[in-house]
């Protein structure tokens, strides 16, 4: 947004004429005011129970997610430096459908939670992972993995039906949404600037280090171009000539860039989720659910607002047994790891702005269809 302001100041406005603030300027100004107010809140309203609860929940969500996000960014940095584009292309089938099907199951081998997966997928997409495969892994990874399967089994008293339904539908929905999005958008119009290289110039758009200097700190010449191997996310080839230490250093530098690019979205999402957790009465969601479809919609909304970790959410869903239908509990468990407020904001670091609402709409629609199907099949606990 700083670039927008600079461009306008330099060119479009005649000298002496005051510049009209753009919508982007106003949004940035509003965000700064909100953040400044947020800094004052814990000091100004200390002792207020709602503020104290918000403070506790907000800190908890961030503290829980931050380590996994750091690990995710390190994994992303390692992928960037140690895995070549050629190697990445050879790992998955060529067809979009087949690659999405394989990628959606990758969580079984590489279990990654929803906070860590965004930076990992940013780097995988930059490395040339097909769009369908990247989205499938993004959506399915936090559900279709052994840790989530086990925690769901525990919460439901080792009844394996909820486990099978959660993981099975999670997989199918992830593949379906991934294929739909990859067909609706070209690769270049799907991912945010800085995530994938320009197909012609092999350079990246505006990113945290899109200022023209690579931040990986290796001091390599821009003229070295791409080796077709270990292409770096910064848009300049690292080659494989660096020592192991240098490559570790480069991986960490990329991790730092990803951390700075995605963590603010995580914090903003956590703040909104903490407000929802503090203000919303969960019982209201039960009372609102007069039909099974409405129950599913309401429970899906609750999952979006609560922003729970996919390893813990099954225990919350299980606490609604006897209060909402089983299909609604499954809607809660499938939608949460794919799309909640925190993820909605974090996805902005991965996708272009217009992609995120469509992704959300597709996930919500698919989850509601799943609920209808579960009801039609008469599955209940």
């Amino acid at each position: 947004m700083g670039e927008i302001m600079t461009t306008r100041l330099e060119g479009a406005v005649p000298a002496g004429q005051p510049r009209r603030p753009s919508l982007a300027d106003m949004l940035m100004g509003m965000a700064l005011v909100v953040v400044a107010a947020a800094y004052l809140l814990p000091f100004a309203a200390s002792g207020n129970e709602a503020v104290d609860n918000f403070s506790l929940v907000f800190s908890s969500i961030v503290l829980e997610a931050m380590p996994f996000m750091l690990l995710g960014t390190l994994m992303g940095g390692a992928i960037e430096v140690f895995i070549s584009r050629g190697r990445m292309e050879s790992l998955l089938p060529r067809s979009a459908a087949a690659s999405a099907c394989v990628a959606a199951a990758m969580g079984i081998v590489f279990p990654v939670c929803e906070c860590a997966i965004v930076p990992v997928v940013r780097r995988l997409a930059g490395k040339g992972l097909p769009a369908a495969a990247a989205i499938a892994y993004l959506l399915a990874g936090p559900i279709v993995n052994p840790v989530v399967g086990l925690s769901t089994a525990m919460a439901y008293n080792f009844d394996w039906r909820p486990v099978a339904i959660r993981l099975g539908f999670g997989y199918v929905i992830a593949v379906g949404v991934a294929l739909s999005l990859s067909r609706a958008f070209k690769r270049g119009s799907l991912f945010a600037a800085g995530v994938v290289p320009d197909e012609h110039t092999r350079t990246y758009g505006q990113s945290d280090h899109g200022h023209g200097g690579c931040s990986c700190g290796r001091g390599h010449s821009h003229r070295r171009g791409h080796d077709g191997g270990a292409a770096c996310g910064c848009g300049r080839g690292h080659g494989k000539s660096g020592s192991f230490g240098e490559r570790i250093s480069a991986a960490c530098n990329h991790a730092l860039d990803d951390f700075m690019a995605t963590a603010p979205y995580l914090v903003a999402g956590a703040a909104i989720a903490a407000i929802a957790q503090t203000c919303l009465e969960r019982r209201l969601f039960v009372d609102l659910a007069s039909s099974s479809l409405l129950s599913s919609a309401v429970m899906a909304l609750l999952a979006i607002l609560l922003n729970l970790c996919s390893e813990a959410d099954a225990f919350i869903a299980a606490s609604f047994r006897g209060l909402v239908p089983f299909s609604a509990q499954m809607a809660f468990l499938v939608i949460g790891p794919m799309f909640d407020i925190k993820l909605l904001l974090m996805y902005r670091s991965l996708f272009k702005a217009r992609v995120v609402p469509l992704l959300a709409a597709l996930v919500v629609t698919a989850v509601l269809l799943m609920s209808v199907l579960i009801e039609a099949m008469g599955i209940a606990l």
Binding site: Y39, S59, L63
Partner: protein, 242 residues
């Protein structure tokens, strides 16, 4: 002068963000204060985070190219440091009756194979979590449990057509955001000189009441006495299979 300040901010922004987070985590770990926010089992993950943040801070400082610093980066930095203000200022060590009233849906943890309480048996009594996990074992027997007091709950009042005090605890899986309340209704319990969130020991005979299609656990002829807060306010479950 302005140029020097701007250059300093550009150079030190990323290392300082990493160091601020690292020292905050270190402080929480040293004081054990992280258990107000996270499950005790998160300690190795916090140590790992500290181990990641330290080299990242040094690498950020050693970078040959200094990242740009504009309004966008200033906003991102302010957002990234915001939780630290809340963590340092947080005085509450546990969620209380406010969170209990928004989170309680009249149900909670039920009997579950393979699950057992990590902490409990507080003050020699029976852990509230044990009562919920092994309801059949305790039904009809006289028990003593430790928890916080909620003088009333709208949901319970609606079900029982009468206001009763409750004793409750939060069961945490990962962090305070997923903490689920469990509660016993204290039938005929007198909580005259006590207030919400006071720690109490409640004794009485456990009874399972089915009201409106859901089970409510209650202590008959409950007696209540105030007690000091336990060292660990949250309850945890462990997976018995491990």
């Amino acid at each position: 002068m302005t140029h020097i300040i701007a250059e300093t901010i550009r150079r030190w922004r990323l290392p300082l963000v990493c160091l601020a987070w690292m020292f905050t985590l270190l402080g929480l770990m040293m004081r054990g204060a992280y258990e107000s926010f996270l499950a005790a089992s998160f300690l190795p993950i916090i140590i790992l985070s500290i181990a990641i943040l330290l080299p990242l801070a040094f690498l950020a400082l050693l970078r040959r190219t200094v990242p740009r610093f504009g309004v966008r980066e200033a906003l991102a930095t302010a957002i990234l440091l915001l939780p630290l203000a809340y963590i340092h200022h947080s005085k509450k060590t546990t969620l209380g009756s406010g969170a209990f009233s928004t989170r309680y849906v009249g149900s909670g943890i039920s009997e579950s194979r393979g699950m057992s309480p990590v902490r409990g048996g507080d003050n020699g009594g029976t852990s509230l979590l044990t009562v919920f996990l092994e309801t059949d074992k305790y039904a009809g027997k006289k028990i003593t449990v430790l928890g916080m007091l909620a003088k009333n709950n709208a949901q319970v009042e609606r079900l029982l057509n009468k206001a009763y005090p409750l004793v409750f605890r939060f069961v945490m899986t990962c962090c305070a955001a997923d903490a689920t309340p469990i509660a016993l209704v204290l039938e005929n319990g007198e909580a005259v000189n006590l207030k919400d969130d006071d720690w109490i020991e409640a004794s009485g005979r456990l009874r399972v009441r089915t009201v409106g299609g859901q089970d409510l656990l209650a202590l008959e002829e409950a007696s209540i006495r105030p007690v000091p807060a336990p060292e660990q306010p949250y309850l945890y479950m462990q997976w018995g299979v491990f």
